[in-house]
């Protein structure tokens, strides 16, 4: 029972890690918390459904196609909801992202309907671990694929030229433009990467929980919690935070109450904010006058 919970908790944790990692990428690049990140997950899942069930492709190619399509959606999102507002107050951008999340939600309902849908599993069936725990292969597939993707994105950011460009833009946009970095492209690439990684999460999640057009809000809420628990703006922090949220959800749901799941996560979040506001990986930034 506990082992089973552990595996499913970690699998869900990796999904949240992908969402919160996407959120952190955007936050680092443009200093904005993206209130439409959960909708990226929902949209990615629906794209996967479209390729898998409506166009009858196998699941792995449809996951890849869905992720690429999400990259395009990310760029469109950036050019419509962020770029025209880049010099406005932060809260104007927050409101525009909220408007965009309504558009995403309603767009999904109009295109794919409001009946919950699902996609194929990457690996079917269940397996027995340590002779006691029945674990779905899909959970293990989620853990493997997301770990690989997160590692890949991390390498891309830390070890490659493109990653350096993105980090330079994130640190100081003006300075980056002075040394000849195309800032628009770099930011667009960050949004694309963020939507890409979150969208894969949607496709992986769909076989376990049905997709519906309102799932973005709860996901977003949990990703917020993961980002803050991990440490704001830290990529490893987002991953650890996501895993923690997944585990709290699994064990809290089993031992305390399933109806209070989100409440338990947020109580943990509030405690974190009280006693370690910088999160696990964050460093306290001195406020400038």
């Amino acid at each position: 029972m506990n082992l089973q919970l552990l595996v499913s908790g970690i699998a869900m944790g990796f999904i949240y890690a992908m969402v919160s990692m996407g959120m952190v990428l955007i936050f680092r690049a443009v200093n904005i918390v993206n209130f439409a990140q959960g909708e990226f997950l929902m949209f990615g899942g629906y794209f996967c459904y479209m390729f898998n069930r409506q166009l009858h492709l196998p699941i792995v190619p449809s996951l890849i196609l869905a992720a690429l399509a999400m990259g395009v959606v990310g760029v469109i999102f950036m050019f419509t909801s962020y770029w025209p507002l880049r010099n406005a107050q932060i809260r104007a951008i927050v409101v525009s992202a909220m408007g965009a999340s309504i558009v995403f939600k309603e767009g999904a309902r109009l295109i794919w309907g409001s009946i919950p849908v699902t996609v194929d599993r990457v690996v079917k069936g269940t397996t027995l671990i340590a002779n006691t725990a029945v674990v779905q292969w899909q959970n293990i597939a989620i853990i493997g694929i997301s770990f690989a993707l997160i590692f890949f994105v991390y390498l891309l950011l830390e070890r490659t030229f493109i990653g350096n460009i993105m980090q330079a833009t994130a640190q100081d946009r003006y300075m980056a433009s002075l040394v000849g970095i195309p800032v628009v492209l770099s930011i667009a690439l960050t949004f694309a990467l963020s939507a890409f990684i979150t969208g894969v999460g949607g496709g992986l999640l769909a076989p376990l929980f049905f997709l519906n057009n309102t799932m973005g809000y709860t996901t977003n809420a949990k990703a917020f919690a993961a980002v803050v628990i991990g440490g704001f703006g830290s990529v490893p922090g987002a991953v650890i935070g996501g895993l923690l949220v997944g585990l709290i959800e699994a064990f809290g749901g089993a031992y305390i109450s399933t109806t209070y799941q989100l409440v338990i996560i947020y109580v943990v979040l509030v405690f974190f904010l009280m006693f370690r506001p910088q999160g696990i990986f964050g460093t306290r930034i001195q406020e400038k006058a």
Binding site: L85, A92, S96, F224, A225, V270, M274, A289
Partner: protein
């Protein structure tokens, strides 16, 4: 002389708006009147958001939760304790305000974004309580048959009577916020909004001041909750959601954060817009979302900011030498 003219103009304008608002029940059917009633209740919450965000610069998503606290306090006080509705109204305001004030001390140890997250947390926790704490909130079934507002033998039962009650409360709240704007407390709110460190250096206790702002938000939302309970008679956890809080923010940003009238304009436009785009049915929400994004792109300062810029342009074109003459 010029000042007196402007004052007279303002007074005439205010009287006109007041007359227009008071005559609303005269030309609307009861369905539209209910829409207006809900809009004015929402307006109280958006005004509370104005105090916190527009004056004090703190963005919170907990308003709908505090609104719910007010509503559930009212229902419990009237139905379980059997106290008169007026007492319930006051208790709802005080209870919700006290909750916000006390939590403010904890939450405002966090700055900017972190406070916003904590408020999302509070909203989620409150909504979880509304849904699951059956003895006091009725759980998933909610509370039905909350009695109407009454004062002695005067019972406010019809839609029309409710309209006047809610409108009067709104006007009182509006005037109090206007008063607050010019008071020392209001000035210290704005000092914190513009630069918290500088405000601290001037001797403002920013933790206490921000908590007071959050407390005022709580009071306004609590009163709005009580009015909602009296009006609708039925409370469900599905009303008091995070989405509702985001709506308040959208309304305020749409109207403009520079003056309380922005909150009123934004609320009225969005509430009525939802009714006007109803013929679009399936596409209604889609256009609504697109409209928000477009409005933010075209006018990030809100309608009030845009209107003011237009007005100043017009003034300077009409009287280019007016400043010199004075």
């Amino acid at each position: 002389m010029v000042n007196r003219q402007i004052n007279l103009k303002n007074a005439v304008f205010a009287a006109f708006i007041l007359a227009l608002c008071l005559s609303v029940p005269g030309f609307t059917d009861s369905y539209m009147l209910r829409v207006f009633n809900i809009a004015w209740i929402t307006c109280l919450c958006v005004l509370s958001n104005y105090v916190l965000l527009g004056m004090c610069g703190q963005n919170s998503f907990a308003q709908a939760g505090l609104w719910g606290v007010g509503a559930y306090i009212t229902a419990n006080v009237v139905m379980k304790l059997g106290l008169p509705p007026l007492v319930a109204l006051i208790l709802a305001g005080l209870g919700s305000g006290f909750l916000a004030f006390v939590l403010g001390f904890a939450f405002f140890r966090l700055r900017a974004y972190y406070f916003t997250f904590a408020s999302v947390g509070l909203m989620t926790i409150l909504n979880g309580l509304f849904m699951n704490w059956t003895p006091y909130t009725g759980g998933a079934l909610g509370i039905s048959n909350v009695p109407s507002f009454s004062l002695g033998s005067l019972v406010v039962k019809t839609e029309k009577a409710n309209y006047y009650l809610i409108f009067v409360v709104c006007v009182i709240a509006y005037l109090l916020i206007k008063k607050l704007y010019n008071s020392a407390l209001g000035r210290s709110f704005m000092a914190i909004r513009d630069n918290e460190m500088a405000a601290n250096c001037l001797g403002i206790n920013s933790l206490l001041t921000k908590s007071i702002a959050f407390g005022i938000t709580g009071i306004l939302c609590g009163v709005a909750g009580a009015l909602y309970a009296f009006l609708s008679g039925y409370l469900s956890y599905q009303t008091f959601t995070y989405q509702q809080s985001t709506m308040y923010l959208i309304m305020l940003m749409l109207g403009g954060t520079s003056a309380p009238s922005g909150a009123v304009i934004g609320t009225m436009i969005i509430s009525l817009l939802q009714e006007w785009v109803r013929p679009l049915q399936n596409y209604m929400q889609l256009f609504y979302g697109l409209g928000i994004v477009l409005l933010m792109i075209v006018q990030p300062e809100g309608i009030l900011g845009g209107g003011r810029a237009l007005y100043e342009k017009w003034l300077s074109r009409r009287k280019p030498a007016s400043t010199v003459a004075q």
